[in-house]
Symmetry: C2
Subunit: 336 residues, 2 copies
């Protein structure tokens, strides 16, 4: 009986650098039995996020790594089908770290939130109303302190996080300049997301000149997902008291040993600038505030998003690799 | 008549890197005549500060550079001998950017503060009650947010700024570990300034091991005046949410092109850490608060300081070089 089986994507080898499809395999196991206080969640959407690379890297990172043989840790969104916890009823929609699998026996600590926006698609809770939107919200508002009239630069500007950063910065009255790869992404930044300008770094031999042209008053805030050459060019153009949020370092092929580059200390000193790493998980007590604001902007048509939905759990293993190749057209989600 | 002459140390060549005595020369000119709103200040003490290197470098820095032929910009402390400004009376003690000279015609904007601690030596207004003490005060309290029980690491820990940072951190209840060069400085950190431990980086082949030994609970805050290898070793041992104040980059032989090193972005992200450059001049509205607190701690015997006073304006030209050689035994001051 098919409905009693649970399909899981598990880690079958420890990747070096970017994880490939072959680092994962699919297995079928029995439906889990929930313990006291737990809920059974039937996942409808699985997420692929850049952070997952960190969860399986050989070096310790933010959280304990996923071990070979374990079901891949992942965000997913689904429906409660059984509950031994009075806080959750059958039929509740929930989002959290339920893994790449059809069904999950979930402890309360794994639940990020109950999804309570019935007018909006459940899949949004993995993107613009989930980790991506909240990352944009906290990174921009708490780390960068955007003020009306100031210039905000965003890298990976057409991505799920970047596009939310840029649009929220526009809502806050900033001048927003995006950096993205390829003419289609640049077009999307300007036409769909309403940026003041966008730079195609792949077609721009002189990033300094491009930034000078599009940021005539310098750069007050920088939301960076890349590190490397793009980061360095932006840094050269920051204003006094600029703020730089480190959200990701997508440009690095590997993390160990540390990548080499120009040391920022002297420049941070002369510009009295601040460079700060942040993680969305440090803002747990503010998740509902963030989702409420983001959902409000979506309903008003002021915050647009794109989803790139792949069908079937079989598309999960190759999804992280796809994130880093840059050829997805929105938040990468697997429908199961 | 000697008393009508004004001796000035002027910039006679643009130094590359650290300024040497030969980049300056002494001249005698007529006593300046003050204009409306100005005061005539008779300098008693001239200062030598690392920041002066930045003021004469070829690249633009914080402030307009000193041009060849001009009297060297410097902090000094003296007495008002003539006033055409109702806010200042003859006999007032003042500290500010009056230059390396005997007498200065001073506009109000050049005055940092009226010295109003008659029970304390005037020379302190160039050190622990001047730029050095205030730099420690603002960098530690505003940038690093020290909390009781947390571990604070200070580089150039026996210097005029570093020793004040470490002592104020002790007053705030922190565990304080200093990094300094040579056994005498290390002794001073522990015996005079009351640090919990100090590391002689010149005699320590493995800084990582030394930091691990002296900072068993990791490092929560780092006040850095060095950049380079010391900075990198401290960074490797920071805790989650660590804060790093960039006060100076004494380890760089030159500033252009940017020094290369390990990129901090990934580490700042994983540790959710903040690296911030700061300048004391951004805190002007808080100068009196700082001096009042610092003077209070001095009077209570909780904030100790050292002065290395050189006699005569002839010792000014070689003083910046001496700062970088590290062989001075306290705040370097020239008595004129």
């Amino acid at each position: 009986m098919n409905e009693l089986k649970n399909r899981q994507v598990w880690l079958c080898s420890r990747p070096r650098g970017i994880p490939h499809a072959t680092d994962f395999a699919l297995r079928e196991v029995a439906l889990p039995i929930i313990g006291d206080g737990e809920i059974l969640v039937h996942n409808r959407f699985l997420s692929a996020d850049p952070a997952m690379r960190g969860w399986i890297t050989d070096k310790s990172n933010y959280v304990p790594r996923v071990e070979v043989g374990e079901t891949m840790r992942a965000f997913s969104a689904g429906v409660v089908t059984e509950s031994r916890n009075p806080a959750y009823a059958v039929g509740d929609q929930v989002m959290g770290l339920f893994g790449w699998q059809d069904h999950a026996a979930v402890k309360p600590a794994q639940v990020w939130r109950k999804v309570q926006e019935p007018d909006l698609p459940l899949s949004l809770s993995l993107g613009v109303l989930g980790l991506n939107g909240m990352t944009a919200y906290f990174g921009l508002l708490d780390v960068l302190h955007p003020e009306a009239g100031k210039t905000v630069v965003v890298s990976t500007a057409a991505g799920s996080v970047g596009s939310a950063v840029g649009q929220i910065a526009k809502i806050k009255g900033c001048r927003v300049v995006g950096i993205a790869g390829g003419p289609e992404k640049v077009r999307r930044c300007v036409d769909e997301f309403g940026y003041d300008a966008a730079i195609d770094y792949k077609a721009t031999p002189d990033m300094d000149a491009a930034l000078a042209a599009h940021c005539p008053d310098g750069i007050d805030a920088f939301f960076d997902n890349t590190s490397g050459a793009i980061h360095d060019a932006v840094l050269r153009r920051i204003n006094l008291h600029a703020r730089i949020a480190i959200c990701g370092t997508a440009s690095y092929a590997s993390w160990e040993p540390w990548n080499q580059g120009p040391r920022p200390e002297r420049h941070l000193l002369v510009k009295r600038a601040t460079m700060q790493g942040f993680l969305t998980t440090d803002y747990e007590e503010l998740y509902e505030e963030a989702v409420s604001a983001l959902a409000g902007w979506i309903r008003q048509g002021r915050l647009k998003y794109r989803e790139d939905i792949h069908e079937g759990i079989e598309s999960a293993p190759g999804s992280i690799e796809k994130l880093y190749s840059g050829d997805h057209a929105g938040k990468l989600i697997i429908r199961v």
